[in-house]
């Protein structure tokens, strides 16, 4: 069943390997600067706030709010040919960072800005687990 997964997947190397490695363990973690305490996403080598190269992957509360979205009615990538309509959604996390994701239990037409959501983990393949969200 898993061999049939047709959508594009992240490449599990460098910082993406670490981010998705935590997802695989069922944990949503973001980089947090060890010097100034700033959270960051997408993953970066250096803290853009203070220049520090020291960070750790700290656990997110997993909760956030819908910030914006689009409803893809016509798929523009072969991997999503059978998926439309679907909605790539931006969620603003309690930590302040935003993630691009999908809401698993809400039809695109029912999405609302500021709708509260929480993370769920979806195994795409044996190697890759994607962080998605559900309404709360």
């Amino acid at each position: 069943m898993m061999a049939e997964y047709k959508k594009p997947l992240p490449v599990l190397e460098e910082l993406s390997g670490e981010f998705y490695g935590w997802c695989k363990k069922g944990q949503l973690r973001f980089q947090r600067c060890s010097d100034c305490g700033a959270w960051r996403h997408m993953p970066r080598e250096m803290c853009p706030e203070c220049g520090s190269t020291t960070w750790d992957w700290q656990a997110s509360s997993g909760r956030g709010k819908v910030f914006t979205w689009t409803v893809a009615e016509r798929p523009l990538h072969p991997g999503f040919a059978d998926a439309a309509p679907y909605a790539p959604v931006v969620v603003e996390m309690e930590e302040g960072v935003r993630v691009l994701t999908e809401i698993v239990d809400c039809a695109p037409a029912d999405l609302k800005i500021d709708m509260p959501v929480e993370v769920v983990f979806e195994d795409a393949t044996e190697e890759v687990t994607l962080p998605k969200f559900r309404s709360v």
Partner: protein, 389 residues
């Protein structure tokens, strides 16, 4: 800062025919060579006079242009890697080159078989190296289905609708204005195909809130300009158009569209005040604007960030014919990427030159003296040029 105002000019413009079916019948390079040659001829220059070439990112190599065109003395070859913002941004680099003596005459070509060749939506989703954001987009956008330009930007459009009450009808007013202008332009792909607001609203949804007619055309075609110094321009037969102020900017972060503190702040937000200051004019002095219209909302957003209206007021600004010919600020007098052709925004520069030369035919803006052209690329890179007669 070194003042470049009026020290460089566009002296030549060239275009090919713009088309969809059956396609240009030329290679991507061949198409651009036609436009390039037309631009050099229009300038009254010989190809031997050209010593600078600035190809569009990923669409050509300067050495290849030079070898085909007989440009034997290529001294200046570079590319600005800001997608659709590149042609206007290249004007600035070309101005710097001709004012410092790094080059005498710089050719800036752009063009592609956007209809009969590979479509943008394919290249950006299949080739990570051509994808703005590179690995970030690959690892954090594509797996969730954010795969193509209209999807990236419609995230901003929806947020704008939420914060400021911008409506589909207002986006439609932009599409309708561009289409109206295309009826006056025989080289526009949508010439002879007028469109009403109702037809716009009835067009199928591509990526909500973007309908089909919010999206630019996919066409075959090329355009090019030649830039030289004001001094050199005086000796040429063509009517020069002055570069009064040019600037570029990038949003922060430029490689990622989701985590911006201010989601509406783009490269143009930074570039526009700089260009106006350099030119010594204000938005009220602009007679017409050619705004990079990859999608309708980007026009609205750029009108705001350029300072033609306040942020949040773009929706009201585009209504009531204000951006149509005869209105307060005619926008995309050629029909733009939405209704003339998608020539990477080089067609916007060419149109501005035609307007300032008084050569725009039925769509001529009366007494056009100062025009403004923007470029928009990748995740919101911006560029803007103010041009004078």
């Amino acid at each position: 800062m070194i003042d470049l105002k009026d020290r460089a000019c566009i002296v030549g413009i060239g275009e090919t025919a713009y088309c969809r079916k059956p396609g240009s019948g030329l290679s991507q390079l061949g198409l651009q060579l036609q436009a390039a040659k037309n631009a050099v001829d229009d300038a009254g220059l010989s190809l031997k006079d050209v010593d600078g070439i600035m190809p569009f990112p990923n669409l050509g190599v300067a050495e290849e242009f030079a070898a085909n065109l007989g440009v034997e003395n290529l001294r200046f070859a570079t590319t600005v890697h800001t997608g659709g913002a590149a042609p206007v941004a290249s004007l600035r680099i070309a101005a710097m080159a001709v004012c410092t003596g790094a080059a005498n005459a710089v050719l800036i070509p752009a063009g592609w078989n956007g209809y009969s060749g590979a479509r943008t939506r394919q290249t950006v989703s299949e080739d990570v190296s051509s994808l703005p954001g590179g690995k970030i987009a690959r690892d954090y956008y594509l797996p969730f289905g954010l795969t193509a330009p209209p999807q990236w930007y419609s995230l901003m459009a929806r947020r704008h609708m939420h914060e400021f009450g911008t409506t589909s009808e207002q986006l439609g007013a932009i599409a309708v204005a561009m289409r109206k202008h295309a009826q006056l332009n025989p080289n526009a792909v949508m010439h002879g195909k007028p469109m009403s607001l109702d037809e716009y609203l009835a067009s199928p949804m591509i990526t909500d809130p973007y309908r089909l007619f919010d999206c630019c055309l996919e066409t075959d075609g090329a355009a090019a300009v030649v830039v030289t110094s004001a001094e050199r321009a005086r000796d040429l037969a063509s009517k020069p158009v002055r570069l009064m102020g040019v600037a570029s900017g990038q949003p922060y972060p430029a490689d990622e569209i989701v985590n911006r503190k201010d989601i509406f702040e783009t490269g143009l937000t930074i570039a526009a005040p700089e260009a106006f200051e350099a030119a010594g004019v204000a938005p009220k002095d602009i007679d017409f604007a050619e705004i990079y219209d990859c999608f309708t909302f980007e026009v609205l957003q750029q009108l705001e960030e350029t300072g033609f209206c306040e942020r949040g007021e773009g929706g009201a600004f585009v209504e009531g014919g204000r951006i149509e010919l005869g209105g307060e600020l005619p926008v995309n007098t050629h029909g733009g990427l939405l209704s003339e052709a998608h020539v990477l925004g080089m067609n916007h520069i060419v149109e501005a030159v035609k307007q300032l030369r008084g050569d725009a035919g039925d769509r001529q803006v009366t007494d056009a003296e100062i025009g403004l052209v923007t470029g928009w690329g990748d995740f919101g890179d911006g560029s803007v040029c103010i041009l004078g007669k």
